[in-house]
Amino acid sequence: MNAGDDSPRSIADLISTVSASRLTTFQQCRLKFYFRYVLGLQRPKTSALHVGGAVHETLKYWNKARWRNESATLKQLHDAYLGAWGEAAASNGEVEEQKTGWRLLETYFRESPIKPDEKPEAVEVSVEADLAKHGLPKLVGIIDLVRPPGIIVDFKTSGQTPVPEKVAHQTDTQTSAYGVLYRECTGKKETSIELHHLVKLKNPKLVVTALEPATDLQKTRLFKIIESYVNGLNRSDFIPSPGLQCASCEFFSECRAWS
């Protein structure tokens, strides 16, 4: 079983377009970026990633149903969840983890700020923004959900209750990218950006962090980060960034052997 369909990619390919997830990985650790995207090393999914994937798929099913003017019963949602769980990792059937994911979803459906009859503007939609006029590559991405009127939503599963101020900073690259993408594709400014955190506690909870639309400063920061990404890749600047985050890095062994 592998973590996805990553395969080695050339530097030219990786700088022809850029996404928030690639930028974020590059910001976290350039060597991790190198292992993941340039070499395309594949690793088994952690249980946390597996739960997150199945939860995302189920939320997509729920949102798509409303988008199609249909309603999804709890039974249908549970079936969708089990299907996503099985598809994502047939050999990784830890029962407790599976229950954890479903409890998160039950909590979400019960406490979600989204009403059952609210029709989304977009669900899991692929978007791109041509940044050539800024001398930068095309920005691409997938937005989980757009609620009316122009509220960008990103779903996150985590093991800890998020602190709003920290979350705003930690997700800055991603939310700024979504703002740029949304504006490019609609010609309108987003109303706000909501992060829906499904927190895996003994008693799961939902925390919604509502952020203001991306500011000029955020956009400038994003463009500078993209510029740094392109320059870094052109220089093959793939150095490690040792720190606390290494404890959970899937490329720990490769990193220790790096010279």
Binding site: D6, S19, S21, G53, E124, T186, D216, K219
Partner: protein, 164 residues
């Protein structure tokens, strides 16, 4: 014989939001003695630099980074999407993809038009790029390509979906 002496001074300064502006002043004069070059160069450099520095402080027009280029770009996309006088608001690429799905599946164009109206309240040609992307996803869900399974969208989508 007169000696023609030319001097130019230019300065380029960065501005917020990836902007910059520059200004150059040049001068041509005649010298009677080549020994005057060094002294004349010193004087002209100082004079031209002062002139440039004085003028370049006026920043002039500065675009609003939240909207500059976006409206134009959006309208440009609309123009790019035009074909035979019919105005598509999505990109040429999206338009081509929608038409290809229609053709490959022998779909009635009215079917796609009705689907767009049902999902977005607008006809296909009126869909912006966000909605057009959603329509393409829906069409691929309903009419998956036999040769490529469900992997019909751009390769970045498949990669990024596995790396949230």
């Amino acid at each position: 014989m007169a000696i023609v002496f030319e001097a130019a001074y230019s300065k380029k300064l960065g501005l917020p939001n990836f902007s910059s502006h520059s200004y150059v002043v040049s001068i041509r004069t005649e010298l009677t003695d080549i020994n005057q070059v060094q002294e004349e160069s010193r004087k002209l450099y100082k004079m031209l630099q002062e002139a440039v520095d004085k003028e370049i402080q006026a920043v002039g027009f500065m675009p609003d980074a939240t909207s500059y280029g976006m409206k134009d770009g959006h309208e440009q996309q609309q123009r790019n999407g035009s074909a035979g006088g019919d105005d598509w608001q999505c990109t040429d690429k999206q338009k081509g993809l929608i038409l290809r799905i229609v053709e490959e599946n022998n779909l009635d164009k009215n079917y796609v038009e009705d689907l767009a109206k049902e999902l977005f309240g607008h006809g296909v040609k009126s869909l912006n790029r966000l909605s057009a992307s959603g329509l393409i996803d829906e069409l691929f869900d309903r009419f998956p390509r036999k040769d490529k399974g469900n992997g019909q969208r751009g390769k970045y989508q498949r990669r990024e979906q596995s790396r949230r």
